[in-house]
């Protein structure tokens, strides 16, 4: 599994780590019941504090994506839905866009333009 953190991003590191997991679960890279690396090992290769990784794992547990099992580490919760909320939102956007006469290409350009504007 690929993890990405960006020091220049305004998004906190803990949230970026959590986002990596949400994306992996959403696109099927992480399957239900699959084990995540120990916080200390992930922290070592991401060059972050182990408490940052633990905070991300706890947030994901609160969201129902991960579960902590004594003696078995951190795992993706069984029955986690593979289709991510991002994919569902894109489907909704495509339906709405087609209803207003936009092609998928025009929607993609609109997303890029708006995404580059400062928030």
């Amino acid at each position: 599994m690929l993890w990405t953190v960006d020091d220049a991003s305004p998004v906190p590191l803990q949230e970026q780590i959590a986002a990596s997991v949400r994306r992996a679960v959403g696109d099927g890279t992480l399957a239900p019941d699959e084990r995540l690396p120990p916080a200390s090992e992930l922290a070592a290769v991401l060059q972050v504090n182990a408490n940052t990784v633990l905070a991300a794992y706890r947030r994901l547990r609160t969201e129902g994506i991960l579960e902590f099992r004594r003696g078995r580490g951190v795992r993706v919760r069984g029955g986690t839905v593979a289709l991510s909320s991002v994919t569902e939102a894109v489907h909704d956007l495509l339906r709405l866009g087609r209803g207003h006469g936009y092609t998928p290409g025009e929607l993609a350009r609109l997303v890029t333009t708006l995404g580059e504007q400062p928030s």
Binding site: M1, L2, W3, T4, V5, D6, D7, A8, E34, R35, L36, P37, P38, A39, S40, E41, L42, A44, V45, L46, Q47, G71, R72, G73
Partner: protein, 154 residues
């Protein structure tokens, strides 16, 4: 600055099955020998714990280091700085190779291979050869930009 890391956990299912079989065999033999249940249970647990430890390989790569661990418990893993590596390659091991057959013997060999298939091979400056089961060794090589035999030859 954007940082990337790759992690993988590989479970040797054949070893899990072999461990379960061994635990059952231990329990059967001990019971047949008249051992008390309070002796059989710890023995079976010991076999199960050993199997769980040996059948799982963890790998993390990023930040100029490779972290390798074994087992399902987060016991201290081994960290190797990429600066101490002289060569790396991605290989596809057969079943005999995964368990040490048909592989050239080196005096310092560390084998963390729990199944056939994609394997990361590393060689350190002090002559240690490591083989580690991982889901995508080529991705690890790209991430760490480790020297490979092809790069060395070019």
């Amino acid at each position: 600055m954007t940082r990337y890391a790759i992690t993988s956990t590989v479970v040797g299912r054949a070893q899990i099955l072999a461990g379960a079989g061994s635990a059952a065999l231990v329990a059967t033999v001990m019971a047949a020998g008249g051992a008390a249940p309070w002796l059989i249970a710890p023995a079976v647990l010991a076999v199960a714990a050993t199997t769980a430890h040996l059948a799982v390989v963890r790998l993390g790569a990023g930040g100029g280091r490779v972290v390798i661990g074994q087992g399902i418990w987060p016991l201290p893993a081994r960290t190797i700085d990429t600066a101490s590596l002289v060569e790396a390659s991605a290989v596809d091991l057969s079943w005999p190779q995964a368990f040490g057959l048909g592989v050239r013997w080196h005096s310092r060999t560390t084998r963390l291979t729990v199944r056939a298939g994609p394997t990361l091979r590393l060689r350190t400056r002090d002559g240690e050869h490591l083989s580690i089961s991982t889901s995508d060794p080529a991705a690890v090589l790209r991430l760490l930009e480790l020297p490979t035999p092809e790069k060395e030859a070019s």
